[in-house]
Symmetry: C2
Subunit: 199 residues, 2 copies
DNA sequence: CCTATAACTGAACTACGTTCAACTGAGGGT
DNA sequence: ACCCTCAGTTGAACGTAGTTCAGTTATAGG
């Protein structure tokens, strides 16, 4: 029987990712423990390190899946959105807010994982981020046909960052009690105002 | 001699805060270790726990100081700013950016410290945050005299969150290589556009 | 069936924050 | 000047993490 080892290896890997995903989603990144993970997966702690370099690797794998789901949600919102490019931006941003709210712990894990200093962001991160940026810059190109691509890039990043900041601080417990509707209102306010042609 | 104990206690407290402040500023929150701290302060590890409940308490004390310096920098920028309320907002936001860039690790520690779930944010945090929000809402009241205070509050929060998001993602290593000038450009772009009266 | 090789095991190691029984010394009573 | 008391101080020890690796087990190929 060929590949029996590789099969089990792959199965264990899948299993570990699923368990870690559920643990993070339910109890946050801080609740992820190697021993609990091994116990739930029915394997020894050492087995985790045959499949992943360390726990951060595992978390990054979970994050890749989370980021992908996020991208898919935003894309879906865009597909259902009206033709008006400004409304497309609003709908996407609110989909981002929705995803963050409904997957709060998983979403936070995207940013809370500690990256080794000096290490580049993983490829999947840059790719998925690029995809999100494209979703934003396409409507922007329609709204501002006279600006060049460099201006589009800057505006795209500014816009994404602004929405991210609004959602981040809005969902934060420290600034407790920003109602979900207010977050959506701020998003719409910022986007409509930012995309209103001046003069 | 009265109060000799209290004196040493206060001196130790001051000393620990200064050492922790320097450690965080130089090497980040993650580099703060109880044993190193005690070793540098010339006391036993247990002594730390006579002065602070735990290391998080110490970090919160450092954060209070950091936040206060941040508020002072923004206030100073406001004092030197032109009369135009829009320019005041731009100048303050760029002062925020400047502070975050020049005190990157200390600034990150403001948000990276893990708050016990369900625990309210400390008073000094809410007070300092309120002060920052006042700096923002005052010019806004001049720019939008016809809107009510609830709208001002929403706009203030939206504005702060947007600037925070731009600085946060701009300084992040993952999205490596956003030049400082571009961050300032995005800030100015967002603020000028957000404060341009519609119609 | 046997053997070389790969995977798996879990006790042990390191590195944390935190605690607490034992110790020290300052301040007041005699 | 002397002790007595107790708050302050100490650092070894504890609990809990992530990670490692020598010993064990199972697989694939000859």
């Amino acid at each position: 029987m060929a590949g029996k080892v590789a099969e089990r290896r792959a199965a264990l890997r899948e299993n570990l990712v699923l368990i870690a995903e559920r643990t993070i989603a339910d109890h946050g990144l801080g609740a992820l423990r190697a021993r609990d993970l091994a116990s739930e997966a029915g394997c020894a702690v050492g087995a985790i390190y045959n499949v992943f370099g360390d726990l951060t690797d595992l978390v990054l794998t979970v994050n890749a899946r989370t980021f992908h789901r996020l991208g898919a949600d935003v894309a879906e919102a865009l597909a259902d959105a009206p033709q008006d490019p400004v409304e497309q931006l609003v709908v996407m941003a609110q989909a981002y807010h929705r995803f963050a709210a409904e997957n709060h712990q998983s979403w936070r894990a995207l940013f809370d994982v500690e990256r080794a200093p000096g290490e580049a962001a993983p490829d999947w991160y840059l790719e998925e981020m690029g995809r999100l940026f494209t979703y934003i810059s396409d409507p922007l190109a329609v709204i501002f046909p006279d600006r060049d691509s460099q201006e589009h890039a800057l505006l795209t990043r500014a816009l994404f960052s602004s929405v991210h900041g609004i959602v981040l601080l809005g969902l934060d417990e420290a600034s407790a009690g920003v109602p979900s509707d207010d977050i959506d209102r701020m998003i719409a306010l910022v986007l409509r105002q930012l995309t209103a042609s001046r003069k």
